[in-house]
Amino acid sequence: MKVQFTLNGAPAEVDVRADEMLLDVLRERFGLLSVRETCGLGVCGSCTVLVDAEPISSCIYLTPMAAGRSITTVEGLGGDHPVQRAFVEAHAFQCGYCTPGMILATKRLLEETPHPTDHEIDTALGGNLCRCGCYLKIRDAVHLAAGTVDLSSRT
């Protein structure tokens, strides 16, 4: 079946089986390799993309459900988005595998809660796992992107 949606701001169309997951379609048909599989169950956040601005797990999201919606992957942020800059400045990653999902979840968090507390960050990003354990600096990055902390003042 043919499915049409907006992908990173541009119209897109793809011919899929009804049970194809969005993760596989984005990687294999559109070459968007920032969308990554870890758990395959929708519990780890590596495959997070935004569908109409809401973070979803693309590994368990049927592609036809995206029809008529707007999908954003981290490629769609262009590389110089304030959240991306904050993650780089705060050194909020090691291997980087979970980072695209973290950045997209943070983008949504800050749209809803411009100045989140640590607790609000933990709640919003608690479903995005990072095995390297960069959580402290990920919190820093969110605060930095929110403009609520100046890292240069830290030792």
Partner: protein
Amino acid sequence: ATRREADEALPLIDVDYDELPAVFTEMDAIAPGAPLVHPKHYISENDAAYFGMRPIDGTNICHRFRIRHGDVDRAFAECDVVVEEVFTTDSAAHVPMEPHASIARWHEGRLEVWAGTQTPFNNRMDLAGIFGLKPEQVRIVCPPMGGSFGAKTFVRTEAIAAALARKAGRPVKVVLERAEEWQTMNRHPATLWMKIGAKRDGTLVAKQVACWANTGAHADSGPGVAQKMGYASPGPYRILNVWVDSHCVYTNTPPNGAYRGYGQMQCIWASERLMDVLAKRLGMDPLELRLKNILREGDTYCTGETMHDVAFEECLRRSAEAIGYHTSEDRASKGVCVLMKGMQTPSRASLAIEAEDDGTYTIRCATIEMGQGARPAIRQMAAELLGVPMERVTYPDPDTDLVPYDTRTTSSRSTHVMSRALVEAVRDLEKNGKRGVGEVTDKGGLDPDTGQGIASSHWHQGAAGAVVDVDAETGKIHVRHIHASIYAGKVVRRAAAELQNEGSIIMGLGTALFENITFDGGQVTNANLSDYNIPSLHDMPRITHDLVERAGAQVYGLGETALPPVPAAIGNALAASGIHMTALPMTAERVLASIDSGSSVDEARLRNIRDIVEASVLRA
């Protein structure tokens, strides 16, 4: 055929299995008359990995390592206080976010493999052996990995990809599904019996250790893990009489291998918990007991090594101070731990620096990147030595056709050994202008029957402190504060160094509190990230740490050191509240069971282990 068709075809294959007698735990596997996992022991002819495997015929023991230092029998008789206990650790999964993956192709008579691996040269040697090639007919290219933590060491998916590529006559990519990660390699469960004796003033006199590491159905690096578990189990203390028997044991479970900390989390858990048991018996403060016996500059370890650039005391004092060990009233919730951790020894490291015509420099180095920041660290150190901005130094993906030999990227060795190789390489480059090669060789190794020699050319040192609350009704541990102090010598890239400490502490929290692989009849029952949990932002206590530096010190590795002390620091904080834990992870159920039993010692289990040690001594 498509992937989908292959998936559909799989359940159509009928397999008949004959169930044979099997053993699943290390203690069942060493019991007299236990079924043998391998009726006959085999040792690979290629020991590029330096494990020196020594199986015991007619048993499931594939390697035994021993330390014989002083006379423990005589020494125990002279002690005022002797305590002993049995400790256990469950298996754990590495859970790199990116699964194991490799691509293989046969090209112009050679095997070429692109792999997520920490061990390119070991893989080249092993693949050459498997496919009957010369090592130089195998090429391994290593792009950065999405995490590893020891999981992607030695041959994992590479041989499968290569065999399929040869059969198919075209390139083949193998990517593991998440559930397959739990079948591929995990962390060694272990049982450790330790006995320690002291004078009434707290002076340590003797220590005896017998431990068994469950290596699963295939040895892999298990003998190395068991050896490190053995030689690090006395801990960073002056003890004149030490007796250690450490065993690597086959069982009918998935293989266990390298895992951040490499056997030393297990022995530090046991050793450092036992120190608090001893302190309690002596009526001494656990911190004071440690400081009284800690290894200091110029002291001799039980392997005969003289300790240099020693920072145990400084790390321990800093950790104690950070958690307010002496300043607060509620000592009852606080615990400390100090550790020594070895680095792969012997080992060899080399790299080359090539001067390009455009004024840039290319590093040819086998150190792989898995998120630990080794490549930027090596680039930065090279840039500093060359006196150029870091942007002018590139570091292409390691390719065994192009990089000089290196043992492997493990045991927190790379930043350290490559910092030394770089000095040589820059000196060589200055001499000949175009290409400079630097090589460092760290000799060493231990006699497997006496444990004498050089265990580690370079000791990683650290300590941790924890403050915990326990819900006495549910057994749930609430960590209020965890602090680790790790000897860094000299920090190269501060943010990356901090991340290594923080990541190790967080992984240690998982090990301490909830990570364990569960089995039923040898089959893993929680091989997914819904049933097997790793720490998330919801699990973060107050975490602090410091990187201990000294003027003029070498660069020390930091990849693992902050993981092993976390469980014992938390366990000792519980002990300070009267809750005696012997098993990892310290799940709520286990904590509750310990509270309910009045934290009593399991005398029957101790007797059983004593019998096993006796029998093993007689057999030897």
